[in-house]
Subunit: 353 residues, 4 copies
Amino acid sequence: MSYNTIGQLFRLTTFGESHGPAIGCVIDGCPPGLEIEAAEIRIELERRATGRSRHTSQRREKDDVQILSGVFEGRTTGTPIALLVQNTDAKSKDYENIRKQFRPGHADFTYWKKYGFRDYRGGGRSSARETTMRVAAGAVARKWLKLNCGIEIQGWLAQLGPIRTDEVMDWNSIEANPFFCPNPEKVAELEVFMDRLRKSGDSVGARVNVIARNVPPGLGAPVYGKLDAELASAMMGINAAKGVEIGAGFDSVAQNGTEHRDEMTTEGFLSNHAGGILGGISSGQDVLVSTAFKPTSSLRIPCRGLDVEGNEVEVVTKGRHDPCVGIRATPIVEAMLALVLMDHVLRHRAQNG
Amino acid sequence: MSYNTIGQLFRLTTFGESHGPAIGCVIDGCPPGLEIEAAEIRIELERRATGRSRHTSQRREKDDVQILSGVFEGRTTGTPIALLVQNTDAKSKDYENIRKQFRPGHADFTYWKKYGFRDYRGGGRSSARETTMRVAAGAVARKWLKLNCGIEIQGWLAQLGPIRTDEVMDWNSIEANPFFCPNPEKVAELEVFMDRLRKSGDSVGARVNVIARNVPPGLGAPVYGKLDAELASAMMGINAAKGVEIGAGFDSVAQNGTEHRDEMTTEGFLSNHAGGILGGISSGQDVLVSTAFKPTSSLRIPCRGLDVEGNEVEVVTKGRHDPCVGIRATPIVEAMLALVLMDHVLRHRAQNG
Amino acid sequence: MSYNTIGQLFRLTTFGESHGPAIGCVIDGCPPGLEIEAAEIRIELERRATGRSRHTSQRREKDDVQILSGVFEGRTTGTPIALLVQNTDAKSKDYENIRKQFRPGHADFTYWKKYGFRDYRGGGRSSARETTMRVAAGAVARKWLKLNCGIEIQGWLAQLGPIRTDEVMDWNSIEANPFFCPNPEKVAELEVFMDRLRKSGDSVGARVNVIARNVPPGLGAPVYGKLDAELASAMMGINAAKGVEIGAGFDSVAQNGTEHRDEMTTEGFLSNHAGGILGGISSGQDVLVSTAFKPTSSLRIPCRGLDVEGNEVEVVTKGRHDPCVGIRATPIVEAMLALVLMDHVLRHRAQNG
Amino acid sequence: MSYNTIGQLFRLTTFGESHGPAIGCVIDGCPPGLEIEAAEIRIELERRATGRSRHTSQRREKDDVQILSGVFEGRTTGTPIALLVQNTDAKSKDYENIRKQFRPGHADFTYWKKYGFRDYRGGGRSSARETTMRVAAGAVARKWLKLNCGIEIQGWLAQLGPIRTDEVMDWNSIEANPFFCPNPEKVAELEVFMDRLRKSGDSVGARVNVIARNVPPGLGAPVYGKLDAELASAMMGINAAKGVEIGAGFDSVAQNGTEHRDEMTTEGFLSNHAGGILGGISSGQDVLVSTAFKPTSSLRIPCRGLDVEGNEVEVVTKGRHDPCVGIRATPIVEAMLALVLMDHVLRHRAQNG
């Protein structure tokens, strides 16, 4: 059962609440012999950390990850790798006012309905803080994929509210701004937009694209272990995700077959509408995934909601929140892609030697 | 491992190739005591069958499903339900010419790359014929969900190429035309479009929406067993799917939080941008999913491709193919929704009594 | 969930009741390219068939297995292999008298308690007829293991009631008598014992040993995927099994460490008390497993029991039953060992390349 | 994949090496609302701790377990429960001499063969220290089972080397001596035996029995989710286990059916040779399991072995070791029984409401 575990052969199990003592994870199934140290993981965690710019939540977590097991003398042993991060900058008092309220658009309500009980502090388990561990585990997967298959993964902000940044103008620029925007000319526009948004107290959605290069053909499996199906699950399972596309995605709807099909020559494919996946199996082309994120529901602008007794209340959210979760989503999307590919590389070689 | 199995507690395993002797499935985990007979399943199979109109493939399979086990004296026993359908109208000769060729945009190429060997007849295991069994198993799940939870599921064609039919004008009209179009006024337009397309030898994409009503709150689970993540996987795993949205989907990207969040009053929610799922758990609102299907890649219009020895060839596909697989996708999408919900109802009551 | 599925990468799902129309299975995860045909599987099925001698049930099933999918032009394709056997010699009328009774010592009672409903004919799903499919799938695994790893598997009757036949006097003799007895001198004694038992109307237990040779070191995994733990599960899951031992088994209890530990030299191990498994991982020595089977509970000698309404009744079982299920257990035990080893070979190469 | 995870709905994942910084676990799938605190878990850990008497290893770990997540305001929330224990009394220097040697009978050799790399300190991941977490998680399961089903679990030492203590003379005496011996008159004999053994430098095997009372009928599932099969796996997966029996176990081999079958009257069953399980499903009788443990392989008495380069060496183990691991196995066996039953209670109610 995949409540808190993802992957079948490279398995990530996460635990921890936003305002509990710690968050952590167990990575099971990592091949032995990979050189890895905590410092490498911290570099990835820094990319998704809050408080890097004024455009994200001002909670400042050190994310000082520790390796508790599975690595000996700097190398993975093949046994479970446990990672732990202490929570240090939780301000639980901010949440006193929503202790008995449900924020519209938030998991507050559904956790209550499911479990009849919840840790309301900072969203508890439903907090995006959980994604820290996805990025941490993703760092291990990425390193292995790079060293063993040459696979390289890069995400970018493709749209923020009305501002489209789909096209990558400069791959190097992505890491050079707080938005993971691939078009240096759009950064100023994004800053102005976000400053205005933050002041208004509102939030906005975003879309993040990701590419994996050098993916070998043959990853994925018919018919319920398809690579695209598992990518869809991995991306839709990120907090706030509402849509996932592979390759041409929803644009396929209005395409003709003569346009969509990617012709092949001895030079390779002539296009990539498929996003690198045919029949659920990688074709050797770049894998392309796009994910839509909704606007955050925790706003200081009041709205109509209910409390735990069913009474109507005006809901106002205090605390430190991201006005656009999509800004920090790029490293998370990359991590999810790495985790799925890693799992499928192991699965492929199990059946196919 | 979910190669050919979907679900964790209500588990569907399918087998069979398009032109093999039979296709079939095993449903494991069905609660005992459900009254079910083959005739009920056949009604659902008839909805997805080819040859119902001139707009779909002219292969005419009887889909005369047999129940081989798990049902005794008309009721499920709690043991595995095996269903079998003999293949009767396979014309394998049609595929002689692609025996050593890869159709661009088709799983031909990736199966070859993965396994080094394939059943090329009718697409073998990658054929949409496999979805027969999804619909068959979905019929069992649907009946149980209706009787035990009151859940009702309905899909419809939301777009076909350039023609948008998102809005349901008349729920009853959906079953009254071969497109599952919910707007009777658009049917003629669809027919003209499809007749022209068929003559041209080209194909086109489509989008299918589906709704589930009376879904109880609490289905789904954080953080890797989310209802929306598993729906995304289920839908993206259908042949030709390239995108999945929950609720507002990609429209969320340009929305503000004040617009997107669904306010709550004692009367219920004031909107449903969330598509009935918050934090991966059902909220009690209608569950809404939209799936994009690409245009079929098997065309009689020639294109550039490769053969199994790597030589460039002109690829032309003969045989009987759907010019728009989206037309028959509605019952499949409904079935996948039923299978996922069924699994989650069982999962929920396991943990929550 | 492993209700009717065993294995993680080489997965067997079985279906069918003793007196239903058919029994069958789906094997998922088999590597592509294995040459296999129905005739080879039938040879293994013949070894476990009833009616081979007067010492087993006189039900005579042809077990004419068909391959429905996953094999094309004589080779596995990597997609699910479905096998089907029609039930032809079921005499359901024999079971009319136990329709509303529970046979003491039989799953009749627990199925009723679990599901509130059961197929009482021939034990339904709890019948040893299900093991036909274990042997069928085991034949596929065995062939692959032999060709790819050189692994060879052989079981034998180690004890029948009071008669001990642990020691293998002649490997060739095992297949030369209906008991799989490895000591030709004991066969006459077994025949006399069984003839007397059959006439008495009583049944008796048995113990079956099995060895796998040429098992590579490294199969299995700490700490909940141990090879011995999974062998224990596989063997205990055979109908009527009540005990499992690896290597020295229960004899280890009275051993000292200096006796039990298998010393190693450059020539290899000096003994094999471990049964080829250390810390849950194969050592390269022969894998040795012993399984205890209880006496059949279906007897024509009356006993005290209950009916479905809770009344005390005298229970007498008619129909055709094995007076010692252990006699036919040898091929089943071999099959289970093959299935577990096959799964672990694939699992090992997933993680360890 | 069950490398380091056990259970399907109540899932335990453990991590940590004997001499690493910490050991821990994640329990996923625990129902919400269970009151649990670290102090309750510590009581169970104390029962299995080393250093309680002179008859066990003198490593003295505090096992000061912390709850890192999944419990809020003293109650489980339904999200993953993470437990952590720091390792404090590890003396890694003791293992310098076996850094490049394999102890005969130990997992040293097979880990090396599997992974090509190992944490040799204290056995690393293969150490019985991992069972701390089984007992910790078992404490959670036990409490839930007691409160929700009335299930009670008790284990005892049934044999130690040549000394048989199968029969429970006094249930209260079990916790009153360091051996979990149920016969007060045998304790002195055990002490003398162990003192002599310890001085000799040798080790010995043991057998541990366990009973679960008030197990409801219906737990378990045909045919690969059998309760007895999963108990066999759980017990055989404990370090040093070599055999498992349910009910009459290997004694069934020499029994007749008229003796073995447990007759039923309106008063209940007249015997319990089945050990509470029929056809893989609990019958409502007491569940009875017996497990054989081999003698420890880490001895100071020299023996012939190999080093990592394949040279013959004399192997002598220093460090602190249990001369009979079976002495501390009782709480572990109880925990495994609790974990399996807990999982099956949840599985049963998923399918059967």
